[in-house]
Amino acid sequence: APAAPAAGPAAPGHPQEPLGPPQAAWCELPSRVLLVLTSQRGVQMYDADGSTMVFWHALDGGNSTHSVFARGIAAAGGRFVCVGTSFGAVLVFDIPPKGTNVTLSEVLEQHRDPITDMAAEQGQAPDGAGDLVTADDSGTLCLWSSGEEFTLLGKIPGSGCTCSSVALWNGIVAAGYGNGQIRLWEAGSGRIRAQLSAHARWIYAIDLAPLTGKVRGERAQLGAQLGAPKASHAGILPDIPACIPH
């Protein structure tokens, strides 16, 4: 159940209790930057300097025997912060230009498996390509157009391998998978454009250089501390054409 907005230092977890694997992300909106944290307790949002907790949302685990956690963070549409959950639901929070009056504006329920990652468009989306992609444990990708009501533009079904990480640029989805593959999909049509046997292990993170569209996959094998994974061996990909031939 959505929690009332709270400001102040009340952190849900006890320092000794394991919260992991936690995630942290900066959400850049036109009017403000928020630091968003996810864990098995839910979502916390802080002001950019980390001094004030702007909002927190506790996940209702109920009597579930399955693991309960929030995972996957993205700022979308210049106004929303989206967070994924282990239930497969994507929580959409409407962020005011300032203050703590954050509201849960929508819950998107298209995924049936735990959300792994999500990403907002970092370049210029072609028409119909949407501005948010969400991914889950089954490898399913959903493309969304953000707004007062989010619209599902398309779904790319998984093929049995977890999609662990995604990036979205100029209407191209770059997706990293548990079997070490990176696949590039056309967001608008849902068609695959490239497939790379990139790594020999599970891909933990994918990142995109927004100006050049260059993609880098990383497999960090050691345990992650809050915030940054300790990468022992980063796979360097060759340049792949950012402009897929039509």
Partner: protein, 378 residues
């Protein structure tokens, strides 16, 4: 965090413990009958049905301290005794071995094969005791039932949960250093050659498709590694070739196993904090322990058949290790102070009173006494 991690953690650590104890029993020339009794008693206690039922319930991992107490108890489930220094060394070896195995698993799912390797070896240890064999097989089946259906994503979460548990543990183990799988700073070496995980392609191929989904171009790139396609997948059945070697007994060849304490922990400040701060979860852990230990059937040593096992080569070495163990690496096994707080003792008795005791054990002073005696000894 995955709520299904504890059984895997417990069984694999237990498996490593048995490998080490088996090696030390032989190195110390303990008579065959006594050694077999110790192994049988410990294994039978580990796979106690009630204990397993508790273990397999979905739950968070508990603290290192709580888990350490369980192994302390387990190691003393028979006629064998261990001094603190030996127990510390045993636990160091157990944990670093399993940490290594988890890190090196090609796929997250392969941690299950590691577990099966441990269980296969345990079955070998008690192959002449059909009763205990049955207990182990029952747990094996429960593992298969619970874990085989889990998705890769769920195994990835289990893996992450395990790695968080092992975070900041960098004790150097001589076998690992010798085989060059661990560096002198305690970090493990990750291989970049050998078979890729089952289901992964050897890196190096790029395939480009046109807008009709037809492959139109292929390109190759070179990688720093030297990977090959695996021949076959390990078996996830009750019997079968696991293929993966992680989790098999690395102590088969008798080599003295040393651990090195100095410089192994960089994060001294945070570890010191963890030891000093009062643990508000102590009550939860007490409850957990009471439930778990309530299921353990502990024998008291009869007459003189008891003996002390030393994890070091000499008594002097053991004594020296006890005195020189760095403060930040002491396990400080649950500092509950049950004796000083009457409220806690009452609470514990109440909890134990509620435990369902299947049949009374003749000659035992009662579970409550055993448990409190354990706490008093800490």
């Amino acid at each position: 965090m995955s709520a299904r991690t504890l059984p895997l953690l417990f069984l694999n650590l237990g498996g490593e413990m048995l490998y080490i104890l088996d090696q030390r029993l032989r190195a110390q020339s303990i008579p065959g009958e006594k050694a077999r009794k110790v192994m049988n008693d410990i294994i039978s206690t580990m796979f106690n049905r009630k204990f397993m039922e508790e273990l397999f319930k979905p739950q968070d991992l508990y603290s290192k301290k709580a888990l350490r107490t369980v192994y302390d108890r387990l190691a003393h489930a028979s006629i064998m005794r261990l001094n603190q220094a030996s127990m510390d060394k045993l636990y160091d070896l157990m944990t670093m071995a399993f940490k290594y195995q988890v890190l090196l698993c090609p796929r997250p799912r392969d941690v299950l094969l590691v577990t099966f390797n441990h269980l296969d070896a345990i079955k070998d240890f008690i192959s002449d005791s059909p009763g205990i064999l049955n207990q182990v097989d029952e747990t094996f089946r429960r593992l298969i039932e619970t874990y085989n259906p889990l998705s890769d994503g769920e195994f990835q979460l289990i893996r992450q949960t395990l790695l968080i548990f092992f975070q900041d543990m960098h004790i150097r183990v001589s076998i690992f250093l010798k085989d060059k799988v661990q560096n002198s700073n305690g970090r493990f070496v990750l291989p970049i050659s050998g078979p890729v995980p089952w289901g992964t392609e050897v890196p190096g191929l790029i395939r480009i498709f046109n807008h009709k989904g037809v492959e139109v171009k292929r390109a190759e790139f070179s990688t720093a590694g030297n990977y090959v396609t695996p021949q076959r997948e390990g078996s996830f059945e009750l019997y079968g070739d696991r293929v993966l070697k992680l989790g098999t007994n690395m102590y088969s060849v008798t080599r003295p196993v040393e651990t090195h304490m100095s410089g192994s922990s960089k994060n001294l400040a945070s570890q010191a904090k963890e030891n000093i701060a009062p643990n508000p979860l102590a009550k939860e852990e007490l409850n957990f322990l009471a439930r778990l230990l309530g299921g353990l059937d502990i024998q008291k040593p009869a007459g003189d058949s008891g003996f002390r096992l030393n994890l070091f080569t000499t008594d002097e070495e053991e004594e020296h290790a006890a005195q020189t163990r760095p403060e930040e690496l002491s396990y400080k096994v649950i500092n509950i102070e049950a004796t000083q707080e009457p409220a806690r003792r009452a609470e514990l008795s109440r909890i134990l009173g509620e435990l369902d005791v299947a049949e009374p054990r003749p000659g035992s002073a009662g579970k409550g006494e055993d448990l409190l005696a354990l706490m008093d000894g800490l």
